[in-house]
Subunit: 197 residues, 2 copies
Amino acid sequence: MGGTDIERLIALLARLPGLGPRSARRAALALLRQPQARMLPLAQAMEQAARSVRTCSSCGNLDTHDPCTICADPGRDRGLVCVVETVGDLWALERAGVHRGVYQVLGGTLSALAGMGPDDLNVASLLARIEQGGVREIILALGATVDGATTAHWLQDRLAAFDVPVSRVGQGVPMGGALDVLDDGTLAAALMARRPA
Amino acid sequence: MGGTDIERLIALLARLPGLGPRSARRAALALLRQPQARMLPLAQAMEQAARSVRTCSSCGNLDTHDPCTICADPGRDRGLVCVVETVGDLWALERAGVHRGVYQVLGGTLSALAGMGPDDLNVASLLARIEQGGVREIILALGATVDGATTAHWLQDRLAAFDVPVSRVGQGVPMGGALDVLDDGTLAAALMARRPA
């Protein structure tokens, strides 16, 4: 495959999520064809990002600043905290542009299988924010999975000690979704969540 | 999305073949979570590969040496030259371990649409090798596409001036392939290439 440097590059690329051995070779080849124009800029962007990435001590977001851009933004409503599992979930909500408050990134869910217990979740900084006052509502935006539901219940218990209303994102038929391709669980949730038309 | 460094990393990753915006974000997130353990090693592997990659002046392969590992290998048969379109095709044949000779990487095919003419193909070093003597057979392993077939015909014309036999790889039903899922062109080629059982 042409040199240990090239093999090592392919092996490291193949470990990225979404890339298998085949697509890692394709990606490596594209980079090798333009070492100056494509490979070096990407290598430098990675070094730069690796050096500058910080975990926000307030919400757990990944950013180049601590507190992160969202927590530092005076235009965001600090009283409205949306709790998500991962930074990827936060990014998805930001792309949708549907949340004008701030976030709390748990860093995962409670999971017996993955060995994630309450101490592994980033909750302390949320409790500290509530105790400082000013938090008016906490929105749980966790996945509609068993672990997501378990985590939501556990969090509701923890938050019951504070006088802050806790809500959960709605469940049902996704926008643009045809009913006949949905699973039974989603259909059941959609019927349960019915509203007057 | 958390800092221009992170956005730049995602934008560069999204330009890799096989990665779209969505998988680029997933890959970036995986790297950002482990800047020291994952992102820096990949960045350094890229810098190293970008510095060391060479185009083999003999065959056109990409390697960290010139001549490449294959051309320099005394165990390879220099008399048997397999002509391929791209380095990716060379890698595929090497993985299969089915060619014990050397290669010639054209760097593409003749293509009116892509603006690729005869001068854009890496053919001169093949002609030079033939003129030096010792080449006993040239195997054309080009894609079974219109451009691949055009290029094969053009190469056969160019090579007709030399006293070297030129062959082409067989066409037909791929191994493990069921006939009812194959396209008409492959079925026609398979019937044309029939042999006594």
